[in-house]
Amino acid sequence: MSATAPDETPRVAERPNYLNTGYGVKSWLLTIDHKRIAILYLIGVTFFFAIGGLYAAAIRLELLTPAGDVFQSETYNKLFTTHGVMMVFFFMIPGIPGVLGNFLIPLMIGAKDVAFPRLNLLSWYLYIIGGLLALWATVHGGVDTGWTFYTPYSTVYSNGWVVVTGVGVFISGFSSILTGLNFLVTLHTMRAPGMGWTRMPLFCWSMYATAIIQILGTPVIAITLLLLVAERVFHLGVFDPAQGGDPVLFQHLFWFYSHPAVYIMILPAMGVISELVTAFARKPIFGYKFIAASSVAIATLSFLVWGHHMFVSGQSVYAGLVFSILSFMVGVPSAIKVFNWTATLYKGSVSYQTPLLYAIGFIGLFTFGGLTGLMLAALGLDIHVHDTYFIVAHFHYIMVGGTIMAYLGGLHYWWPKISGRLYPEYWSRVSAWVIFIGFNLTFFPQFIVGYLGMPRRYHAYPEEFQVLNVMSTAGASILGIGYVIPLVYFAWSMRYGKRAADNPWGATGLEWETPSPPPTENFAVTPTVTGRPYDYLTGREEAAAG
């Protein structure tokens, strides 16, 4: 178990920390403390996740029966569009960077804050404004184009809420850009003395790679959405065939960002997993340099594969071939990470606490989702399963089985640091298992039903697919319950949880050398870093030390 007692006496924990310096709404809404901004993001992403989840529930409700008998098809189109927009742009993209990235990066590198704290707060406001705009559009009628906004449907034929939604996503995109910019500069210029690049925690490496993608990719979808809105409002015809425009050009511009975007969603999660496996195996991470390098490799290669979303669009077959082989290649660095995490756990002093349960779940489910991704990289197979539930299952395995599990694992791992409290271990394990079971029951049947030919984005389907769909909906209900339980006990723990020690896990890392919760300025004295990261004693060294 942990080397230090997890509890802390109440008297000591009343000392000033970032949570109790300054009360009142203004002190939170005008904060420039990265830790408070992280909490603001936590509230925001939880809110939008709940909305996206409600829409998912509506979708699964409709799909209980083969007939389209709960919603009209136009309404159903709005359901999956809103689910996608809310989840992708207002939960997945801002999620781990906004919450864990903001909270941890300065702490992990021994800094007092990020490079541009006021810009950080602006990022949060842009995110919220963008999200609320998109929500406004949803409430007032909703968009039915799919989260991909393909033209000319979105620019000519669908309803006008595309404009408001597009503007909302555009604004939120700037939040992502500024966050990436902030993290990039912070990691380059504010590491503590002695912390060279090869002593930096792997979570920071993955956030660095994520920042590269945010900076280079997001502007392209920003201009694409701007052109979409301009086309809609001013009847420009940039993507409308009737005026000489090319819808495939829209797809090129859209996916140039939206493929790397999925790596914005997974790289921070991978960084979390790196931290979790080393902490709970109490062993230095296997292949630190390979994991760090693979993060940067993923960030770079991710920009060269977007055409695999367009194999059936009319894109050149030769371009398709090149995109296909590059898509196979981009799987390699991810696989390297999986090997290294497994090797870290191997012969480690493994402690199966809740964060590690999530990490192990991630490794298995991400591998599964990733392998199906390789299947999709194959041109021939992709054409067969394009726009079926096979695709839906593939990306949910990665985004939900991967990213969300890592997010929850990280939330549990750093919760004592963030809140100064311990969550209840029993209920945390219960919810981890409920989530794992619910997830697999929801999405595994979708691989089968998709391969058999059930299309996505349809609210009716042939009778023979019903059993699998019922399983999927049942799983979704279980998954939903699994997500509610942590919401309850995390909130509960803020008031009634046992107070946490500075380092309840006995883990390495500068963030554990501050009090739980940390004071506003993080470190009274800037630490100096010596020695390698993840400097756990191996068994032999421990024995030799007596």
Binding site: G237, Q243, T520
Partner: protein
């Protein structure tokens, strides 16, 4: 905040421009500079999306684009190019003056830059107005223009050229307006004596932004105004 005051107990010996989370002014400057360059990278990709659309459509509709391009006023375009280059010079001189803390010179060069930027925007207003009058604005009122030389109607995809023209120069003009706003803010700060030999980072950063906007125009001018002249 109590903790903050405690950290600075024993007198405030750090310069007023130093933000508390930076170790010293050079570190702050390094971060600001890297941050501004990273932002300019995003701008490259932001404009880049439209340049991509331009490349594809120009290759596809070559005659339409060449013909439509010749309808732009090359004198105004060249004049504006010269004006913008001049404004880059005055901006560079403003940065130079700020590195020496010479307040009056800083303000002079900033005002000149704003004036030149204003002239640029004024010319753009004139150009846009001409387009409206000639029904060259894409949309329901667009009328396919006539080729300058042959006086035959251009291909209908000439409308696409104008769509890109307005989007690209419009976005560029918006960046100029924002730049003028930033320059005004700099003047206000300069008048308060904010820029000294020790600290001129804001002027330097706005300078980078302004020069970037100039670089965008350096590419917009030939691509939009010059590409079809050889057919005349």
């Amino acid at each position: 905040m109590g903790a903050h005051a405690a950290a600075h107990a024993g007198g405030h010996d750090s310069p007023p421009e130093l933000r508390h989370h930076f170790v010293d002014l050079p570190a702050q400057r390094e971060a600001s500079t890297l941050g501004m360059w990273a932002f300019l990278v995003t701008e490259v990709l932001f404009f880049g999306g439209m340049f991509t659309a331009y490349v594809i459509y120009r290759a596809t509709y070559r005659t339409a684009f060449e013909g439509a391009s010749n309808l732009l006023d090359i004198k105004l375009g060249a004049f504006n190019t010269a004006v913008l280059i001049m404004s880059s010079l005055t901006m560079a001189l403003a940065v130079w003056a700020s590195s020496l803390g010479r307040k009056n010179l800083i303000i002079l060069f900033l005002i000149l830059t704003i004036l030149l930027g204003g002239i640029f925007l004024g010319v753009k207003v004139i150009e846009y107005k001409q387009k409206f009058e000639h029904h060259e604005v894409p949309g329901p009122h667009f009328v396919v223009p006539l080729n300058e030389k042959t006086h035959q109607p251009l291909p209908p995809q000439s409308e696409m050229f104008f769509s890109l023209y307005f989007c690209m120069t419009g976005l560029h003009a918006l960046h100029m307006i924002i730049g003028i706003g930033l320059l005004t803010w700099l003047i206000v700060k300069a008048r308060r004596g904010a820029f000294t030999t020790r600290y001129n980072t804001p002027v330097d950063m706005v300078g980078l932004y302004w020069h970037f906007v100039d670089v965008v125009w350096i590419f917009l001018f030939p691509l939009l105004y010059l590409l079809g002249r050889h057919t005349l």
